[in-house]
């Protein structure tokens, strides 16, 4: 087990280094000069060359690319992601302002979807090829088909037309005013959570179906156990492994969901921040966000793999 954990930990290093290099290169290749965007220029859009040079020097982007990359990596190792070129504030500070909203959205969407998806997936598997199964499958396929930004637009549309409700402009943390926070977050959570629930329902259904055909389940039936006991005690425990994996791999999709949902509901979270940062060519912000998301993705997947190995001894000894 120790060798397995060590191997998996070692593999994180090249992955993160690759992500860091890729995002650095991509941000330098994107057309558009951040200094021109900041300076704006005169009415005709002209900017003095000396002004540009001074601004580049101030932002530290006049250095050779390798030096810039090295400086940035050294900063990352010390958890210093630099300063936003656009606002002039430390990137970590900018992120901390927006992180509670995005984390709350992500966790609430995951929690809601798991609470809905696992019972629904089990029910669909237990009643395979009946109308119950068909209804659950169609609802979950709908969750994969309907774009989350459209669900968001529809939510706003219905709420505005029928209830005269508009999304609050400022985020209220749950510890300040739980009711105001609930009102603000409930629809974005539904928007992100529907897709997540759909994926988890399908995975639960298919794994429970596979497990239900195992010999030990047939033995449990032969022993005269009740259906509930067989499904909950014998099938669900074994069917949960792929579902746990899915929660890890869906993390990347969750970030995508946050980007569009925060845009639709005009929430000032990390997702919207990254779209604005790409548009503003704010290199340090995009680099930091991509690195942290990739880090989160790698860590979540490592934890999932370790959970998997802990549950299933065959993986450990391979």
């Amino acid at each position: 087990m120790r060798t397995y954990v060590l191997n998996r930990l070692l593999l994180i290093v090249p992955t993160l280094l690759g992500v860091a290099s890729l995002v650095f290169v991509i941000m330098r290749v994107i057309p558009g000069d951040v200094t021109l965007l900041i300076l704006g220029g005169d009415q005709a859009g002209r900017v003095d060359a000396a002004q540009i040079a001074a601004m580049k020097h101030r932002l530290g982007i006049d250095q050779p690319l390798l030096v810039q990359f090295g400086t940035w990596l050294w900063g990352v190792l010390r958890f210093d992601f630099g300063t936003s070129l656009w606002s002039g504030r430390p990137v970590v500070e900018e992120l901390l302002i927006r992180l509670p909203l995005s984390l709350e959205l992500a966790f609430a969407a995951t929690l809601v979807s798991v609470l809905i998806a696992i019972p629904l997936g089990m029910l669909a598997a237990m009643r395979q090829d009946t109308w119950v199964d068909y209804v659950i499958r169609v609802i979950s396929l709908g969750g994969l088909a309907i774009p989350s930004f459209w669900v968001g637009i529809l939510c706003i549309l219905l709420l505005v037309i029928y209830f005269g409700w508009g999304p609050p402009l400022e985020f209220t943390p749950p510890w300040v005013d739980p009711w105001a926070n609930f009102q603000q977050m409930v629809w974005p959570v539904v928007t992100v959570g529907y897709r997540y629930a759909a994926v988890t329902t399908r995975m639960t259904r298919s794994t429970v179906l596979e497990v239900l055909r195992e010999d030990y389940i047939r033995t449990a039936w032969a022993k005269g156990l009740r259906e509930g006991a067989i499904v909950v005690r014998h099938a669900l425990k074994n069917a949960m492994l792929p579902v746990i994996t899915l929660i890890g791999t869906e993390f990347a999709f969750l970030i995508g969901g946050l980007v569009v949902t925060e845009t639709v509901f005009t929430l000032n979270g990390v997702g919207r921040f990254v779209v604005d940062a790409v548009a503003h060519r704010d290199y340090p912000v995009v680099q930091a966000l991509v690195f942290l998301i990739a880090f989160g993705f790698v860590v979540v997947n490592l934890l999932v793999d370790l959970t998997y190995a802990w549950f299933d001894p065959r993986i450990r000894y391979r």
Partner: protein, 299 residues
Amino acid sequence: MATHVLSHAPAAAALAPRRTVRQEILKFVRTKPLGAAGILIILGMLGVAAVADVLAPYDPYHGDYGAQFARPSAEHWFGTDEFGRDVMTRVMYGARIALFVGFTASLAGCTIGGLLGAISAFLGGKVDLLLERLMDVLLAFPQLILALAIASILGPAVQNVVIAVAIPIIPRAARVVRATALSVKENVYVEAVGALGATRRRVIVQHILPNVVAPYIIMLTAQLGGAILAEAALSYLGLGAAEPTPSWGLMLSGSAPSYAEKAPWIALFPGIAISLAVFGFNLFGDSLRDALDPKLRGR
């Protein structure tokens, strides 16, 4: 032992009744009604896209300022937008872009990914290690941000969206095909044909590749819906097709939410079109997976 099994194979095949194409289709419809519904949706969408010029009642680009925000009526079935353009016409033409991006992006992504996965599995060693790390990097890189960056580098155009949507598909396809190729390589029959003196090329082409085709096709159909959704999301964020191209995602961005109260139909119909198209491809993909996967066959 191997000769014994092989000598029975032709006899078993001769005994099995051969079904005609019509019978095969009827069996698919009977056993996979949801898959058949998916095929119907896809065929309908392909038909609309192919004959949009003939079917569409108006020009998708032509605005009529006298008919701005017209409600759905006999004249404009889906109403008109803020420029007085017919929404139904634009939804019909939008099917072309969605299908083009969906098919080309998933085909390119799955083929490149599938080839890389197969090379990784066959060659093994350092090549496998290197390609696997590259796929790890692409998987860990947030998909939408990668697409955003690619679209920003190449500019907002339909063909650039294809590249932006295809790249995130590559590592997923590579993983699936590599895993399948590795498990096929370990099978006893592959070892047996090798022992019988079959060349490496014969083993790969005749015995390994046919077994990798099924997961490749499943992956391809599974990615089609996702590619259409990704195109819509990119266009919605302003990084897909540029105005006045009739792209479904673009039709939902900008003015659609602003006029939601006054003219909800502008946001309603393109959204239904996206959902229906992705729904059709997902239904079909699911049933195809069930039909091709021996473990799920007959369930």
